[in-house]
Assembly symmetry: C2
Homo-oligomer: 321 residues x 2
């Protein structure tokens, strides 16, 4: 794995001054102490840097990649796709012809990409798949919406997935479900064909991320038990075999809600919300990378990646490292 | 399969009046006689209508779907993903929880989605996958750029893919390659994080599609022979087993170029560029649907779907109906 962060760190204490909030307010309510925000960095530049580091860590060259999957919600350009823009930024992008694919399940894009990458792997034709989740959330935030303005951060993470000869390793089970009653609870309305910039000039409200947090939490709370019941029913593993849970760092309240799924079992539940904020699809792989570096998970660990996404979806992948 | 077109037809003769061009000029140079353009229609409304028709044609209900893949380059909203917006528009979207995934390889998105859908199909857990390619190109066109303004059209097509018990049916081979030297030859620059509407107010040039057509054709011509050589080498079928070729309706010159791949063999090469223009990812499935309806391909036909895409990519899928 590899990561890349924008140079600029923004502390919650700085945002409190900017917004005229009492000291300590933001960390108390959002759980975020600092986040990174892009200035001259782009989705592609951060993505390419993360991928470069991941290739170094994996000790393989770009030539050995069978696929590049960009798994994110935000983008540099409406066209071409993000993966092509990342490949273009890579040092040796022009010497290789591996295919570039974008996938998007918003905050769960990395988790969905694991499932797709597992399907692509082949001992001869596709030994390695690179997944890059590169997100710049900061441009789409509304300073008047304190809850979201203080919650999100920018980051890029890349992960190289390879063929394993150990049958116990890899993706054990994956499940995604979409609940359309929540489709309009999390949106950026302006900028696409519905509210095209040609006809709808920039206005902060229209072009910024908004979420109806309380209703999302209600929907998540209502849907999660049956989602998990189905997940464990279809999986060959059970909850008490899980060593660690890596939840999407959606929000402080969202993380508390996900604790319910442990049902009294005690796997480690990771969190890095305080240090990075919600980095959309980059949150889960960033936490996975940190937990590997810190030795909280290692080869042989059974890890549940789980989260919610705009759409509204719940998704989870059970993997053995 | 099912399709949905905007109500408004725009004839090339009308565009000639608008642009002050001589009568017959547009059809002669672009090969396009008419195209459809969205007014009040959206990617989601057209996509949902096409999916509704496809479900009717397939005689299955939305409840039986195991997956909805939106395979397009254009979108209604930056967030959530397109598939979630389409599901929300479906009559019974709220009664079902099938997962919503977006994939994007620009003009080749439908072809890439076939490969991914084939991997998702499972006789118990995922009997049917719906692929929807719903494109509104017209909002991102620059009237000053005659070549592209007259070339593109809007359309949506949906296709239901199912498990088959006949081992000879289905996806035979798929290949995608990305050539980064062409990454900047086809772009819409404005509207994402690189040129965000907050900092870069709408200007036609910045927010419109542009392509360097001549350089694209050169790159395609240079790359296509080795792409095809690899494709046939890795496939269990050969070119003379192909009954029909369904090329992406990129442009008149692009279609002429693709004729080279037949190498003197004479499979039917389909085209509907004159009637719809280039409909981005919807072009290939729209032509597939029409050729099935007209009896040009039928159960048992071996069909090569092939095209180029912004990025720059070449992709192909060999399928047996």
């Amino acid at each position: 794995m590899g990561k890349a962060l924008p140079k600029m760190e923004v502390l919650s204490t700085e945002l409190e001054k900017e917004l005229g909030l009492p000291a300590g307010y933001i960390e108390k309510y959002s759980g975020v102490r600092k986040r990174y925000r892009a200035e001259d960095e782009s989705n592609s530049s951060l993505g390419a840097a993360a991928l470069h580091q991941a290739l170094q860590h994996a000790k393989i060259s770009a030539k050995e990649l069978g696929y590049l999957i960009s798994a994110s919600a935000t983008f540099d350009y409406p066209l071409p796709n993000r993966a092509s823009a990342i490949k273009k930024q890579m040092e040796d992008g022009e010497k290789t012809h591996f295919p570039c694919l974008d996938i998007d399940t918003t905050c769960l894009s990395f988790v969905s990409a694991l499932d797709i990458a597992a399907g692509f792997l082949h001992p001869v034709h596709c030994k390695y798949v690179a997944i890059v989740s590169s997100e710049i959330a900061s441009k789409g935030l509304n300073p008047k919406d304190v809850e979201t303005y203080t919650l999100f951060g920018d980051a890029a993470v890349a992960c190289i997935i390879g063929v394993t000869e150990k049958p116990e390793q890899g993706l054990i089970h994956y499940q995604l479900q979409t609940y359309s009653e929540g489709a309009e609870l999390t949106m950026i309305k302006g900028g696409g064909n519905r509210y095209h910039p040609k006809e709808h000039p920039y206005q902060t409200d229209l072009y910024s991320f908004f979420m109806q947090g309380r209703q999302l939490l209600k929907l998540a709370k209502r849907s999660l038990p049956s989602f998990m019941e189905q997940f464990w029913k279809d999986s060959t593993c059970s909850l008490h075999e899980v060593d660690a849970i890596i939840p999407h760092q959606a929000s402080k309240a969202g993380l508390i809600l996900l604790q319910d799924i442990t049902q009294g079992h005690k796997p480690t539940i990771g969190s890095n919300l305080a240090a990075y904020g919600n980095c959309i699809a980059a949150s889960i792989p960033l936490l996975l990378m940190e937990m590997r570096e810190q030795g909280n998970v290692q080869e042989g660990s059974t890890v549940l990646l789980i989260g919610t996404a705009a759409g509204f979806s719940i998704g989870a992948a059970l993997i053995r490292l």
